[in-house]
Symmetry: C2
Subunit: 170 residues, 2 copies
């Protein structure tokens, strides 16, 4: 129940978004509590049309979830870290094991499997460095084939969000 955001729910293709959909999406992705009528007035549609579209967008999975964004400092997880993880070629199979380990971890905000220097890039939020140390120690213990973990400490999060660019959303 803790983590809603694996990407298992992908929107079905085949249905294109029209300009109205995009304008609705641009609005709910910055505030999903706005009444349909308020959106309707802004984009020139009736409230029921907006509700109909919202329902369909949710059903199709275009809207994946509606969530509250919390203040990290208030929750005592003020430390953000970016970890680049690399595997040696001969242990590449162990990557799958680590992936399975990372996703359920509450401290893990995001995890990306990448090309380039790292095999995995992980963004995490913890209370302090000792907490991060404990995490790394656990991972290394459970997946000893990890080649290296390169950690960057975040000085300041300049922008933190998941709002996607919506082409005709203005």
């Amino acid at each position: 129940m803790s983590d809603s955001d694996d990407l298992s729910t992908a929107a079905e293709p085949g249905y294109a978004l029209d300009a109205f959909d995009r304008r609705i999406l641009a609005r709910v992705q910055s505030d999903c509590h706005r009444p349909a009528e308020s959106i309707a007035a802004e984009i020139g549609l009736s409230a029921s049309a907006v509700q109909r579209r919202l329902r369909r967008l949710r059903e199709r999975g275009v809207i994946r979830a509606e969530v509250a964004l919390l203040d990290a400092a208030a929750l005592g997880v003020g430390l953000t870290l970016i970890a680049g993880i690399g595997f040696e070629r001969e242990h590449y199979a162990a990557l799958a094991r680590l992936r399975a380990l990372l996703a359920p971890e509450p401290a893990v905000q995001q995890a990306y499997s990448t090309t380039g220097d790292d095999d995995l890039v992980v963004i995490l939020r913890v209370a302090d460095m000792p907490a991060y140390d404990r995490l790394c120690a656990r991972w290394m213990a459970q997946v000893p084939q990890i080649g290296r973990i390169t950690t960057q400490v975040v000085i300041e999060p300049l922008k933190v969000g998941l709002a996607l660019p919506v082409p005709g959303g203005d």
Copy 2:
């Protein structure tokens, strides 16, 4: 209006969250449309008490925003990239200029100022590589002091979310 998530709104300290607050937060951060009564029943509180707490949490900035998470593929921004940006020591002042440039960029999902190999780590979503090329070209043109941009292409987003770990939230 496009980007709600710079961190300008920090929750005021001085008010501690109690166990009820944390249990409420843990729930709304995975679904902010849940009726207060449903949450209330789960944590053993009345619906209006939950509403009152939600309002206070919003006012204090503990709840920073309530937003819809959209499907990247449906919006045609299926390509995720992680860019590490570095400056030479003598051009370090130009970093502030680039920071100001990055935040308003719709393609920029997150930007972190970091210690370590990179001065800046940026996660972005674009339609395709040419789109990314254009972005980089613009940045390099507007801030020529950029030393290097090391790009990692995301093969697969394993976990994408902003749900923070909530200590007593179960």
